[in-house]
Amino acid sequence: MERYVDGHADAFDGLYRKLSSTLMGYLLRLTRNRARAEDLLQITFTKMHRARASYLKGAPVLPWAVAIARRSFLDERRAAAVRSEDLSADGSLPEPRPEAPALPVEMSDALEIALQKLPESYREAIELTKITGLSIQEAASVLGTTETAVKLRVHRGYNQLRKELESFQRPA
């Protein structure tokens, strides 16, 4: 990051290689829409580019980038909430988004559905720590809360996931 701040384009390539797929995975999980996730990825990197002079030396880069991505997502969601629905070119309303499959066929599907059923705060805490790979302290910073709160959310989220998945594993 510091070489990028110093103006080395090759350092940006290294940074991009290191961060892009993790951020894309995180944004895709938040948006569940590849086009929106790619838009947000571009916004995130543009914000990082603009803020590179303000990057405080010594700050860990991944949580910093994840926090910017999360804030970009929240801003976009807030803006979308007050925006009226766009009509398509022929004047009709857009097609509704496809729903998640109702009946899971495999464990991974069941997990995906169970994760989506969790309250947002639990899901975010689990995704940041279990999937994105941040430490509890880093996840607490990203979520703007305490480490204890993150541990509590992960624990409660796990309990709910366990219940959901037990019902999936139980033979019919």
Binding site: V5, H8, S20, S21, M24, F45, M48, A51, M107
Partner: protein, 233 residues
Amino acid sequence: MTQKDPLADLPWPGATVTPSETCSKAIRGVCTKSLCAQRGISATGRALLTLGLSMLLLVYYTYYAVAEHRPSAVMRTALLGAMGWLGAQALLVFVTLVRPPGKRGSRALRLGMLLSVPLLFIAYLGLVSTEHFDIAKFAHGYPAGHALGCGLIALFLGALIAGGALVAWRRTDPYNPGLSGAMIGMVAGLASGSGMSVACSSHETFHSCIAHGAIVFVLSLAGFGLGRRLLAP
């Protein structure tokens, strides 16, 4: 017989997804176009700038007090107090803003400071005030009008300091910009409130607590709102 924990070997979804080539190309284009070294001032530099603004305000208030021939004994006490609060501001800035985001004091600590420091400041103003009016006497006529005028001036000068400091710390905190903004607002409020005690002709308890003390809360609140816009990258 123990039941198998269904979370033990879960097929967690992959953390990484490769973005499309078009997307990567667009990002590289924006982020490497005419890329040059852009090293901003360090966190310590920003902190010193913030404290420098506070100091400048205190110098202005002191100059005003001297020009207006305020009683020297009262002015000296207020000036010593203001210097003490400048030290407190330095402590607040270095503990809650200078360290990289994510390594600063915990959120609970910062929230606690946001509530307790203004209360301590108001208590200090109450203690050092040399006059005390009855509330009815204060609320009617000149004392209330004077407090309003004094409060507005302190608020305006504090807002200038807060604005300057927010610009100095711009885009440095993606984690909790509102809280950092509130800390900056509180520091500016302390600078203006304690400085105003040096320059003000009134050392009455209600006047000090309301006109010089309450602005710390107002500026903290304003800092919270502005920080969310200015301090997030």
